[in-house]
């Protein structure tokens, strides 16, 4: 008998698993700081009309390629300068955050939902369901992601919904694989067998017994993937396959500035920094989440 059973119910272990995990997460300063950065971006995106200094579509040819405020010719009311049409870059970055975060969140949400359903079905039901789903996953994984998305966009044409569809098309594979693997392990545990012995349906077992126990790794993976999706969206917009002008999008902004990169570096650089900052913050925060929530990283 292993010497592990020293814990009596009276012990000071009333803290729930979730609260202990949260405390671990908050204790990780870098990750917590990154989470704050992400939250600031989300706040800016939601309240863009209130916080942005200008109208994102307001053009002013007199301010064409106006440099940032601290450079000669700059103005403090146009902090990060203006683009080729004289639009305020800061304003467009704030509005661009809306597109990036909205698409990132929507794609990850839809993809994770599909992935959870497919992964649970494949891992729990096994048999031909698993065969079919796993083959589809393998085939999709065989295509390079960006080229796949470009092909789809070329077929469907640009547009917000089409971008989301094009990205979800392949993105669900990632959570699906995670869920399937975790389900394969969890379904063999005795509490799942116990539920079957009690007469529980497959649906109950998948959704109530298995899912809650495998959710943490899935959430962690999904947050990490959100950073990836944001980059992909920016890439598509950069190639002109994304959200169409005049809507502000970081990828398109970087692309627009290419022509003037030598005389007006700020047009491409600031949206690039925005992408970098958000993606980095999401990555660090989700790593912290993983460390705190995934029990395999404890000890």
């Amino acid at each position: 008998m292993p010497d592990t059973d020293t814990k009596a119910s009276t012990g000071p272990v009333q803290e729930t698993i979730f609260r202990r995990n949260m405390r671990n997460f908050v204790g990780n300063r870098l990750a917590f700081g990154s989470a704050l950065v992400v939250l600031i971006f989300i706040f800016l995106a939601i309240f863009a009309p209130l916080v942005a200094p200008h109208d994102p579509a307001e053009t002013d040819l007199f301010r064409r390629l106006q440099p940032p405020a601290w450079m000669p010719g700059g103005e403090w009311s146009y902090l990060l300068g203006c683009d080729a049409l004289g639009r305020d870059i800061l304003t467009r970055i704030i509005y661009g955050a809306r597109i990036s975060i909205f698409i990132g969140a929507a794609v990850v949400l839809v993809a994770t939902t599909i992935g959870i359903i497919a992964g649970l079905a494949a891992g729990y039901l096994r048999g031909w369901v698993d065969m079919v789903i796993s083959r589809v996953v393998d085939i999709l994984l065989g295509f390079p992601y960006l080229i796949f998305a470009i092909g789809l966009m070329a077929m469907m044409g640009p547009g917000l919904i089409n971008i989301i569809i094009a990205l979800v098309y392949k993105e669900w594979v990632i959570p699906c694989r995670v869920v399937r693997g975790e389900t394969l392990v969890t379904r063999e545990l005795e509490y799942v067998e116990a539920a079957r012995a009690l007469g529980a349906s497959g649906r109950h077992i998948m959704l109530r017994e298995i899912l809650p126990n495998i959710l943490s790794p899935v959430i962690v993976v999904s947050t990490i993937r959100m950073a990836h999706v944001i980059i992909l969206e920016a890439s598509l917009s950069f190639l002109g396959l994304g959200v169409q002008p005049p809507t502000a999008s970081w990828g398109a902004m970087v692309s627009d500035g290419r022509a003037f990169i030598l005389q007006a570096w700020w047009v491409s650089t600031f949206p690039g920094i925005a992408i970098l900052l958000l993606v980095l913050a999401i990555n660090v925060a989700s790593q912290g989440l993983r460390d705190a929530f995934d029990p395999r990283f404890h000890e």
Binding site: M1, P2, D3, D5, T6, K7, A8, T10, G11, V13
Partner: protein, 336 residues
């Protein structure tokens, strides 16, 4: 406990080992005394959390942070093991005292063959191996074959080249014993050597330990939760509860005439064929948490014989015949 004599191999006095946890300091071993004589087999019985494994991990110097030995002397052949440095302790471990773990699968290195693991042990604790490279290798191999044969593994020459996963659970336990015995230790500490094994295999492994003890004249400490195993294989027994020794004495005495209510309860709660139809009387409740224990008998809350006189620290009391127990009700009986 009697005074040490020249027959004494290991003597532990007032050992106190604690673990720092977020909830407080857990006193896993609290004032434990142990004596192991040369050539004898001492059984150590206790349930999870009784401190039986921690006591002997402390002896082996295997307690790691967040645990530490807070007090006590561990005398082995007149040397205080706690005063030794890392290198000296490593030399004692394996050469003088060997230990086998409960879980043979995780205790053996999966990446090395059984032969390599025995050889490693022999290399580390060189006992008159020849110095020439080839002669040395041959000597090690011959000795390894002998050890595997000793623990009853058929065709040891071929088995030496195999990896731990190619053996069954009982075989792995025997291999671990072979590795432990390779350097002819004076003391073998076997921590639950048979808990993971089936009864027929368990019987084989225990007989192996008892036989080799007789052959090599070493001492054995058998840590177990099974009183039946102790009854059949040990000369003396030590019963532990909540970090303390609550009773010790000759095996036959302790089992036939237990003095401490916990020992009585343990014996009474063994299901047996002969008790069919009768109610067994389990010990109610469970082991207390080892944090901030009050100054009282640790078995108080579960004891059937408790009284107000138990609400203080209880010392070991002599019950005669070398049997002692940590209970206020114990009185010395005249040897009969």
């Amino acid at each position: 406990m009697s005074a040490p004599t020249d027959k004494t191999l290991l003597q532990v006095e007032g050992l106190r080992t604690v673990f720092e946890t977020r909830d407080g300091t857990v006193c896993a071993v609290d004032g434990v005394d142990v004596i192991v004589e040369r050539g004898e087999c001492l059984g150590v019985v206790g349930e999870s959390g009784s401190g039986k494994s921690v006591t002997f991990n402390s002896v082996m110097g295997l307690v790691r942070s967040p645990g530490r030995i807070e007090a006590g002397r561990i005398m082995f052949e007149g040397r205080d093991l706690r005063a030794l440095n890392q290198t000296e302790m490593r030399a004692v471990r394996g050469r003088d005292i060997a230990m086998t773990m409960q879980d043979a699968m995780t205790a053996l290195n999966p990446a090395l063959t059984v032969g390599e693991q025995i050889a490693e042990m022999l290399e580390a604790h060189d006992k008159g191996l020849p110095s020439g490279r080839n002669a040395r290798r041959r000597a090690i191999r011959a000795h390894s074959v002998k050890m595997l044969g000793l623990v009853g593994i058929a065709s040891p020459e071929t088995r030496l080249g195999q990896y731990p996963h190619e053996f069954s659970g009982g075989m792995r336990q025997r291999i671990m014993i072979a590795i432990a015995l390779a350097s002819m230790p004076k003391l073998l500490i076997a921590d639950e050597p048979t808990t993971a094994l089936d009864v027929t295999i368990q019987a084989q492994v225990l007989e192996l330990i008892t036989d080799t003890r007789a052959k090599l004249g070493m001492s054995v400490v058998l840590i177990t939760h099974d009183l039946g195993v102790v009854a059949e294989h040990c000369d003396r027994v030590m019963v532990m509860y909540a970090g303390q020794v609550v009773e010790q004495g000759r095996t036959a005495d302790v089992i036939m005439r237990p003095k401490h209510p916990y020992t009585k309860g343990l014996l009474g709660s063994l299901p047996r064929l002969s008790l069919r139809g009768q109610r067994i009387e389990p010990i109610e409740g469970q082991v207390p948490e080892l944090i901030d224990l009050p100054a009282q008998c640790r078995f108080y809350s579960r004891c059937r014989e408790r009284g107000p006189e138990c609400l203080k620290n209880i010392e070991m009391r002599d019950a005669g015949n070398g049997q002692t127990a940590r209970c206020v009700r114990v009185q010395k009986e005249l040897a009969t």
